[in-house]
Amino acid sequence: MSKEKKVIFSEEKCKGCQLCTTVCPVKIISMSERINSHGYHPAEVKDQEACLACGQCAIICPDVVIKVMKPE
């Protein structure tokens, strides 16, 4: 298992729309308690290891918040 994050959120860009949470096959995305400078609770993945790097979240994210990396 890689030490690097598989799914990276540009938190400042996140608008807390929650769409990503609906598509994750392993339901690991949740909304953070934090508020970013635009006043939104950003999405986050705490359990990076569970991520399948399937990209679904990035596909539906309207704000290009999410980068997904797959170990090669």
């Binding site: 890689s2 690097e4 400042e12 860009k13 608008k15 807390g16 729309c17 929650q18 769409l19 609906t22 598509v23 939104y40 790097a53 990209g55 679904q56 990035a58 596909i59 539906i60 994210c61 309207p62 704000d63 290009v64 999410i66 980068k67 997904v68 990396m69 797959k70 170990p71 090669e72």
Partner: protein, 248 residues
Amino acid sequence: MKEVAGKPAALTDKPFHYCPGCTHGIIHRLTAEVIDELGIREETIGIAPVGCSVLAYEYFDCDMHEASHGRAPAVATGVKRVHPDKVVFTYQGDGDLASIGTAEIVHAANRGENITTIFVNNAIYGMTGGQMAPTTLIDQKTKTSPAGRSRELTGSPLKISEMLSVLDGVTYLERVSVHDTKHIIKAKKAIKKAFEIQLAGKGFAMVEVLSTCPTNWGMTPIEAMKWLEENMIPIYKPGVLKDIEDGE
């Protein structure tokens, strides 16, 4: 590590000004990804509409021309006739394309203008705060149809893609949606094809993308996706409306 998803190069770093969960952002990204994949960023001139995507010129990292409301196809015609070797696309809302700009899209399409049109149908005027669009559904409440759209007074949802597909100049016309990832992936394929047709010099290609407007629909983004699926899809059936190559 390989990046399987991220920001396409054809998008600038500027954060979108769209409301939370607005699918304009998805459609921007898909378009940019297609531009990247086709390697045409430096050959492409995009025409931004007047609508919520009015600032599209800040997001696409290619030459951009801001049109007046509804006239993107005319502006695109001007650009394309000067640079027939370049790639020109318009990105238009339903108010822009299906209402004020009806004549311009009909005639650009009929001329077979060799351009690509991304038509974002969210069944409402987003930018101006949620007025009725020609594509608004029957009984849908908007700022200017507060009792719900009445068929008797304002007619039925305008099926402009069906209408345009009758025209000889239209080479390819597909309706897609972005309400879930499966449809998003399909939408991208369609957008890609619409650009490829232009690159091959084959004439007018358009993709209608069903899109949400959580703000003016008065819903959460998740509800909006569902509303699109349950209410728009039955009226605006996704699918290829015209594909000359398929002999259709």
